[in-house]
Symmetry: C2
């Protein structure tokens, strides 16, 4: 069979994903409450906010206050998201976040043109300016992401050869600027991946770049999130982005495409049941998921927070015996 | 890697699963409308109703009228569910259903005691009476099911050796009565399975009984449904029970455990995207799923009916090029 990783590292993106997309308004205090709850679950990395202009993302208008308000837990990395220097400066000014740089390429030109009004070539050139921006601010660039690695709503299927070429461009930039790129994220930005394509793409990437540490960013829009994560596990992938309760998705968005990330506690449940460590207390995480549901005020897509863990059932059965 | 089956056969259980559990009331005409819609999708087998006492399952009080009302499509097998001779006689009296017999064993004694007030031994003995009942009615017994094959809320984990022993008892009955058991269904009745346990159990069953045709009955209570189906595909399993739109589950049942079957159109989507034939028109099935949602009057758990198929996106992209 396959070789699961012994342990999996989860980058929790729920607060940022969720509060960015929820209509709200959600009070700053409740956002802080969720982050503090997540801090106590054993998660090692939490993306707390994004620094976007309030007119574009009203749910993140209070990002600076959220960061000011939460309590840092020892051993947890707290990150933020930004798309330009202004956002980066806000992140640095918090004097509290773990500010690390990231390169971002995209496998689909049509998606780039639509979303960032850039060609592939222009986006590649922009990465040089981005690296310089980080280096001028003494921020290490440790992570790189490839968007639309498994398919694109505007371009269709993406050739694996093109994915490999784009990763090579990324590594070339890394080498040119002597970056310590520790993790390459393959993002299924528009939910085109299936377990088979996860295995094909990850296999090809491992084949060409055996030393790369791969991370998967998966969306559950077509119900493949957990199956795709499982395919990643079977390929030995040990790093996943996920969102508690499936925050960022919405089961009410009938027919419009609920676009949530893979659900953290469902992923943790699967890992634990298959003997893979996460360092996370699943029961505590389920409590955080229920808190998230209470905060947004409507059901969220997570399943295990409804069905309950098996570990809890096993304890109940043992106690009754 | 693994060997997917070339084609998959899906037993659609949505009408029976869904209308049995929905609070309703749902009119007979609308139940018939869903079955007629499903008949046009390319599905080859549809479980239409169950014949239970109306006082136990009010949603199935009109089972006979539903069967009377739908239109049989050539090439489609229409089945019903019953738990005793009275139910069987109602099914036979419809003179319209494809009435086939089934053995039913269970891997968990505690579940049996709780749900049917029988020990394992008593249930085994009961199967002899059941076979005789079928034989007296000239009904072939072609299928056998094993409940709680992957774990039990009251007994906990189930040893694989016990699963194999129980299957052996089933086959012994088959031999004793010269039954033509064509398919053995392994049911994850209480949603304990993970992709790893699916592979372990199916592998062990294949190892001991290489000639058995295995079917999987999967619940999505803990979000593992599609990942478990994928694990089945990787083990070459070609038969699945599923429910359109995830009927039978309920995204509103917060914290109480939504217990839906794996969603048919999400499963079909995964199969098609991985090159596995189903004979089903996914777009037509998505229309049926939306119809199901309209009929029950609340969102259902299916994802692809929200996110849309990739085949449709590919056609749109090709047309725009």
């Amino acid at each position: 069979m396959s070789v699961y990783p012994k342990a999996v590292h989860i980058n929790e993106e729920g607060p940022r994903e969720g509060f960015q997309i929820e209509k709200g308004p959600i009070s700053t205090a409740r956002k802080i409450e969720l982050i503090d709850s997540l801090s106590k679950t054993g998660l090692k990395q939490i993306q707390t906010v994004s620094f976007m202009p309030a007119k574009n993302v009203p749910g993140m208008a209070d990002a600076d206050e959220v960061v000011k308000g939460f309590t840092r837990f020892p051993g947890v990395t707290y990150t933020g998201l930004w798309l330009n220097e202004k956002g980066l400066q806000r992140a640095i000014a918090t004097n509290k976040l773990d500010v690390k740089g990231m390169l971002s390429l995209c496998a689909s030109e049509k998606f780039l043109l639509r979303n960032q009004k850039r060609t592939l070539k222009e986006n590649l050139a922009a990465q040089h300016s981005i690296v310089k921006m980080y280096q001028e601010n003494n921020i290490p660039v440790v992570r790189a992401g490839l968007m639309a690695a498994f398919g694109c709503n505007f371009e269709g299927d993406i050739a694996i050869a093109h994915v490999l070429d784009t990763l090579q461009q990324m590594l070339d930039i890394g080498e040119q600027y002597r970056l310590d790129l520790q993790l390459i994220s393959l993002a299924d930005t528009m939910a085109w991946a299936t377990p088979l394509s996860i295995k094909r793409v990850v296999g090809a990437v491992r084949n060409k770049f055996p030393d790369l540490q791969i991370s998967l960013h998966l969306h559950d829009t077509r119900g493949m999130g957990i199956a795709n994560a499982c395919a990643g596990l079977e390929m030995g992938v040990a790093f996943y982005d996920a969102a508690v309760a499936g925050l960022g998705g919405c089961p009410f968005a009938a027919h419009s495409g609920a676009a949530g990330n893979v659900c953290t506690e469902d992923l943790v449940f699967m890992c634990h049941e298959m003997g893979i460590e996460t360092g996370i207390d699943l029961e505590a995480l389920i409590e955080s998921a229920r808190l998230a549901e209470d905060i947004v005020g409507h059901p969220l897509p997570g399943s295990v927070m409804q069905g309950g863990s098996l570990a809890k059932l096993r304890r109940k059965i043992a106690a009754a015996a």
